[in-house]
Every structure is written in C-alpha cells, then in structure tokens.
Symmetry: C2
Subunit: 230 residues, 2 copies
C-alpha cells in the first residue's frame, strides 16, 4: 500500500464474492448450487455469488447476493479465502472473495429468477463446477470440518431448538464418522453452551420424546480452548 498511485481504471480486476452454503439434509451434507443461465460456463453448476458494488462492504455483497439468488438471509457467514488466479474467469481478471455459510435444513430457499435452477447437491457426489468453484468448495469443506471440531459453529446447521440426537447426527454427517452418544452428550453439556428448554420433541412413530435444547447465542467462539471431539 505504498506505491504512489492507485491503478488506472483499465488495470483493475473485477472483484466478486462467492458463497458456499452448507446444509445437512436427507442425512447428507449438501451445498447449494445454481445452474448458470449465461456464459461463460452456461449450464454448468456454480456457487451463488456476484460482483461487489462500488461502495459496498464485502460481507454485505455476500449477503446481498445470497438473498437475491437463493432467498437465504440472516445466516452464519464467514470469509473463507480470496481466490485470484489471473485466468480463473474467461471474461477477464476477477478476484473472488469466497465465503462460507451454514443454514438449518428447515430454511427454505427460492431461486431469485425463474431461469436459474437452484439445487442442493451432495458434497460426496458433485457435478462439474464452473470456474474454480470446485477448489473453493473443497476448501470450504475442509474449513467446516475443522471448525466443527474446534468450535461450536455446528449449531448453525440446526433450527433454534433441537434435540441432542439431532445435534449429534448433524456432527456425524459433517465429520463423516460416528460419535459415541454418551461422550458426545457429556461434552456438549459440559461445554456450557446449551440451555435446556422445558419442551420435548415427540419422536415420529414410537420412542421416548427427546428434550429440546437451545444454543446460547453469545457462545459461538467460547469453545476454542479444547477440541470438542478429539
């Protein structure tokens, strides 16, 4: 930040944001993709995103595009990494600031325009993606798994109230491994980031109803000290 002059207009890259939205649904970890209605990569699946406006913060651009293209709002959103290889977009130089978002499976999505097909796709069976979006997605997945083990960000994948079994299932789906029920519950309860409600969820079919819990909102970053699931 020391060269005297800001670059001439002709020498500036475009700046975009791209958002990887994860959700646990159908007993699977899925990402929300849309089919590009226009070139380049017309018809290919891609991450939601778009260009940053001249006087808009990067986070705001990510939220705006998310809402415009998928109707998702009020969501956990975190900057991931900035991808800026010179030829990553055939239209010209585009530097993309990638974000990752987590939403509960109950949250509805809706395509922002009728020509754009939107779809949840399993991260274990992804189609070919436009641009370098496969790299972005892979990076986001790695970060998600990492954060899940070391922080309490996993709650963002569930609705406001949830049972401990639902929480454990979400963790298992994201991490791709089974966890011990007793150890899981003990850790979660001892971490002090849950509050018990007075309500229960009746299981569908048979079974004892499960207590509902809420996440303490102010606790997201509290847990860092020790791994939640070693």
């Amino acid at each position: 930040m020391t060269e005297a002059d800001i670059p001439a207009l002709g020498e500036r890259p475009a700046v975009s944001v791209d958002v990887v939205i994860f959700s646990v649904r159908a007993y699977d970890l899925q990402a929300l993709l849309l089919r590009r209605p226009t070139p380049p990569f017309r018809g290919r699946w891609a991450l939601p995103g778009g260009f940053v406006r001249p006087s808009e913060a990067l986070d705001d651009a990510a939220r705006r595009e998310l809402q415009a293209q998928t109707d998702v709002h009020d969501v956990y959103l975190e900057q991931l990494y900035t991808f800026g290889a010179p030829r990553r977009d055939p239209r010209g130089r585009v530097v993309s600031v990638a974000y990752f978002a987590l939403i509960a499976s109950e949250v509805a999505i809706r395509a922002g325009s009728p020509e754009v097909e939107l779809s949840w796709q399993s991260i274990y069976n992804l189609p070919e993606l436009a641009f370098d979006h496969a790299d972005i997605l892979r990076y986001a997945l790695q970060r998600l798994r990492y954060k899940l083990e070391y922080t309490s960000v996993g709650f963002e994948l569930l609705p406001n109230e949830f049972t401990l079994t639902e929480l454990q299932t979400a963790y298992e789906i994201v991490l791709g491994k089974e966890l011990d029920k007793r150890n899981f519950r003990r850790r979660m309860l001892e971490a002090g980031i849950l509050t018990e409600t007075a309500r229960y969820r009746e299981s569908e079919g048979q079974g004892r109803p499960a207590r509902l819990y809420r996440y303490k909102k102010n606790a997201v970053h509290e847990v860092k000290a020790r791994r939640l699931f070693p």
Copy 2:
C-alpha cells in the same frame, strides 16, 4: 458469480496486497513497517504492500512487493484475510488482500528506495498506522499465535539451524508466556519434526555448547492433530 456481466471499468475497486512481516528480534516480537513517502497518510507508518498487477496472482503480488520494498524473499507467506470496507482508503475503493510472513531475525532487510524509511517495530508499542493497517496487524498477530500453538510454523522464525533454547525463546516471545523447558523439549522431539545435526553452538561467554537442530522441511503441516502447547 452469476450476474451476466462483469462490471464496467468505472465500477471496479482497486485490489492491493498488504503484508505483515513478523520477526523475533531483540527479545521482542516485531513487525516490519515503512513510513509512507506520499499521501495519503504521508509520514505515517504502514505495512509493505501495493497494487496487484493485471495478470499477476495474489501471492505473487505479495512476494513482489515484499521483495521490492524490503528485499525480503524466499519467505513463509500465507494469505490472512481480505479487507474491503468501502472507505478504508481515501483515494477510492481499495480491496486489500492481507498476508502474513515470518522471517528469521538474521535475514537482512533493505529499503527499496532511499526515500522510504523502513523499521522493525515492537508489536507491543506500535505507532499509529495508516489506513486500517492496525486492524490487519492485530488480526495477523492473533493468527500467528494461534498457528504457533497448533502447527509447527514457528520454525520459520529461526535460521536453518538452531538450538532448542533458541526455539523455545522464540515461542515464548511470540506467545507472551513462559514455557517449561523439559516439557517443551520433550514435545518438540516427540513431534518428530526436528533432525539433530552433529554440530553444536558455542554459547557466547560461558556455558555448555548447545546441540543444533534443523527443521524437517516437509513437516510444516504435520502437527495439526494435537496442540503443541496446551
């Protein structure tokens, strides 16, 4: 990444890189700053950095500016975060991709131009910085401390060969706390990321000479599983 059109030239932000270079020297954790020779913030201390060229990768831009302004090269460099508040630069919209770098105290620096004053400054006693560089530096420091506890990146702060005491001292300076000598040594040796050389370093003045070690180059990311210093 779905809007049909790339923004018109007049609507593009400029994209810069800024680099926080840390080094342990004079028994202190210091960052390399330069005094801005031109407006805006003329005379204020700032991070090395500059604008990304049209067909240059972001990492390459960071390395280029680092070498041009400080003569530092072949260095550990990692992308940190992208700062893009709309008014962070009075010249106009500038999105800055921040990096952090680590170098050994033995590495010489040299200002890239005679008008630019370069200086190592203690992170415990920073001057006022230009732009939002104080935020960037704070963020970089947090990341450095975090990585030091969970990965073996700390070796980048030392020369090729070093004694265990030197390594421990570097860790203590960065983390700002004392570590137990026996536990430190055991952990480092058991982590399997050091190779013992046949050489010793004569201590200045009196004292038993200390064995020299090297860092196994391929091991940088090996350690993640468990905290190095809980």
